[in-house]
């Protein structure tokens, strides 16, 4: 069996006395798509941010493409290598792009930085990446203000792919899109994986979207993994009560919303395990 492309072992994050991620372990095989499902405050985004180095890791280890990335990178070269291995696409395409940069320039910048592409080849590669995510020539020349949410998210995906990563982390990347546009971007994600062989770590609260995009899934609650396995199996016959609750809360015709017996606690930052 080949080495997994990404391995998280015992990942833990605490802020002061509050533990937001507690002993989270999973592996992502090369070419696989793994979902992380959970509600707000479950720690799923913090896991992603620790993997790409946007948060320091309190305990545990992360290994990507055969090299350890638990500690912050010591040198620019190391940081750049890590950036080449794992890229991330964020939720809000209105905030994650530079408003002064055209779509093409945003993609070209990453190409020059990471792939050490010769200047002559940059334009060609920008076109190829734009093709891959379904952006036309006019859109490549546009600034974000002239692009719709779906188009912006395509730019963000193309930009992440420009580094030629092994792993693409998608953090609620289709959550803000309208249904018809979301379907287009989900199809694009399927095409990209088929053509490039990139692995996805797909973070979402939307069970139907997760079913469409991922092979396996881990379910998180209050910073810990409560259940994991093949996506179809977990969604068809969830064994953990929390997964069952999640599944039962998805509206459908004939659905009768029902009260939980447990009342909402007052707002507390994350879950405390102290």
């Amino acid at each position: 069996m080949p080495e997994p492309i990404l391995r998280a072992a015992g990942l833990t994050k605490t802020y002061g006395r509050t533990t937001v991620v507690d002993d989270v372990s999973f592996v992502l095989e090369a070419g696989e798509s793994l979902g992380i499902v959970g509600e707000s405050g479950s720690g799923k985004t913090t896991v992603a941010r620790m993997i790409v180095g946007l948060e320091t890791i309190t305990a545990g280890t992360v290994e990507a493409c055969g090299s350890d990335r638990t500690r912050p990178a010591r040198s620019a070269r190391e940081r750049r290598r890590r950036g080449r291995d794992v890229q991330m696409v964020f939720q809000d395409p209105y905030q994650s792009l530079d408003p002064r940069q055209t779509a093409g320039a945003a993609i070209a910048e990453v190409l020059r930085h990471h792939a050490e592409t010769r200047t002559a080849d940059v334009a060609r590669q920008v076109r190829e990446l734009a093709d891959l995510v379904g952006l036309d020539e006019r859109q490549v020349g546009s600034r974000p203000e002239n692009l719709s949410g779906g188009q912006r998210q395509r730019v963000a995906i193309a930009r992440a792919l420009a580094a030629d990563p092994q792993v693409l982390i998608l953090d609620e990347s289709v959550a803000a899109l309208d249904v018809s546009i979301q379907a287009q971007v989900l199809n694009t994600l399927a095409d990209v994986r088929e053509q490039t062989g990139v692995s996805y770590l797909f973070i979402s609260h939307d069970l139907a979207v997760v079913r469409q995009v991922t092979d396996r899934v881990v379910v998180m609650k209050d910073g810990t993994i409560v259940e994991s396995g093949a996506t179809a199996e977990i969604l068809d016959s969830p064994s953990h009560p929390y997964t069952q609750l999640l599944r039962a809360s998805v509206p459908r015709p004939g659905w009768k919303p029902r009260h939980r017996t447990r009342r909402e606690p007052t707002r507390e930052p994350g879950a405390s395990h102290s």
Binding site: E39, S40, S148, G150, D178, V179, S180, I181, Q182, A183, Q184, L186, N187, A190, H205, L207, A208, V209, R211, Q212, A232, L235, D236, L245, L246, R247, A248, S249, V250, P251, R252, P253, G254, W255, K256, P257, R258, H259, R260, R263, E264, P265, T266, R267
Partner: protein, 326 residues
């Protein structure tokens, strides 16, 4: 059954830098007393503006045509006094509770202010009524909540406070604009259960705006679908979910991934939704429609009776219900 709310041929245009822009065109639907109607569509389709027209919360310079009759009273172009009188009988709940509550006033102040100032209810009695509605919407320990501030409550809890405040005026119609979109699914189920119970207990009529067809099918009696500022289809909620008639509704239903299975590719509609002002002469969906003909390009379809409801499509009924072109 005479309708509690009857919206007929509602037109709305707003001023913009290049002249007046149409936002809504010939919006038509009605809600009976105690009935719930889902208003479904993608961003920019005019759902929120429809609700704002009904509530009289339009921006300056808005021009309204057509008619909005609430329990026999015409609201389109009515006087401020008529508007005030109608407003105490309808209540609004918005998507983001934090944007609609004063962060430096306590929950108790927020809930009792209108009663004390407008209806001259003594403070003690106003607080007693606030406690009662908080209990109705399933907020635990209501006496403590009255002394708390918005930042101390979670989003789901705060949305319940907003629903409680809507109920304090004892409305007959609840206008809910994506009230659960910002909430987690389990909290959404909770809040929907509360709205559902209240509706049955108090006989409230509900206009429920959502982008989620499944949610509308689950909680509404009938669903109206909007596209480019028009209502293009109204049907009993489950019927619309299972047998959509308009090609746009069909495309919308098909594009949503399934919870119970996967397809290698989702059936997608090319292009993206347009706004009302971008519509040329014909059917607003024509440029994206797989069934479009010359007639669709030239003649704008209007809502006509079809099946269990109404639909605005020249080819309704003649369409093969197969998947829309992928």
């Amino acid at each position: 059954m005479s309708a509690l709310l009857d919206v007929r041929g509602l037109d709305l245009s707003l001023p913009s830098y290049d002249g007046e822009r149409p936002i809504l065109r010939q919006v038509t639907f009605s809600i009976g007393a105690g009935e719930s109607l889902g208003l479904v569509g993608e961003s920019g389709s005019g759902k929120s503006m429809t609700v704002r027209s009904i509530a009289g919360l339009l921006p300056r310079g808005a021009r309204v045509g057509g008619s909005i009759v609430f329990d026999g009273t015409e609201l389109a172009g009515c006087s401020a006094a008529v508007r005030r009188a109608s407003r105490s009988r309808m209540a609004l709940v918005f998507q983001d509770p934090r944007a609609h509550i004063n962060p430096v006033r306590s929950i108790g102040d927020f809930l009792t202010e209108a009663l004390r100032l407008n209806r001259k209810v003594p403070r003690r009695e106003a607080e007693a009524r606030a406690l009662r509605v908080l209990d109705d919407v399933g907020v635990s320990d209501p006496a403590r909540r009255l002394r708390q501030y918005p930042h101390e409550l979670s989003g789901g809890l705060l949305q319940r406070v907003m629903i409680a405040s809507a109920l304090l005026v004892e409305p007959e119609l609840l206008l809910a604009d994506e009230p659960t979109t910002a909430l987690d699914v389990t909290t959404q189920a909770d809040v929907m259960a509360i709205i559902d119970d209240l509706r049955r207990d108090l006989g409230l009529a509900l206009l429920f705006i959502t982008h989620d067809l499944d949610l509308a099918a689950a909680v509404c009696d009938r669903t109206a679908v909007m596209y480019a500022g028009e209502v293009i289809e109204v049907q009993p909620a489950e019927e619309l979910h299972e047998h959509p008639e308009h090609p746009y509704t069909q495309a919308l239903t098909a594009a949503r991934p399934s919870l119970t299975g996967t397809s290698p590719r989702l059936p997608v509609t090319p292009g993206r939704p347009i706004a009302a002002f971008q519509v040329a002469g014909g059917c607003p969906f024509e440029p994206r429609c797989a069934f479009a003909t010359d007639r669709c390009r030239e003649e704008r379809p209007s809502l006509h009776e079809h099946g269990h409801g109404v639909v605005a499509c020249h080819h309704a009924g003649a369409l093969d219900r197969g998947p829309v072109r992928a």
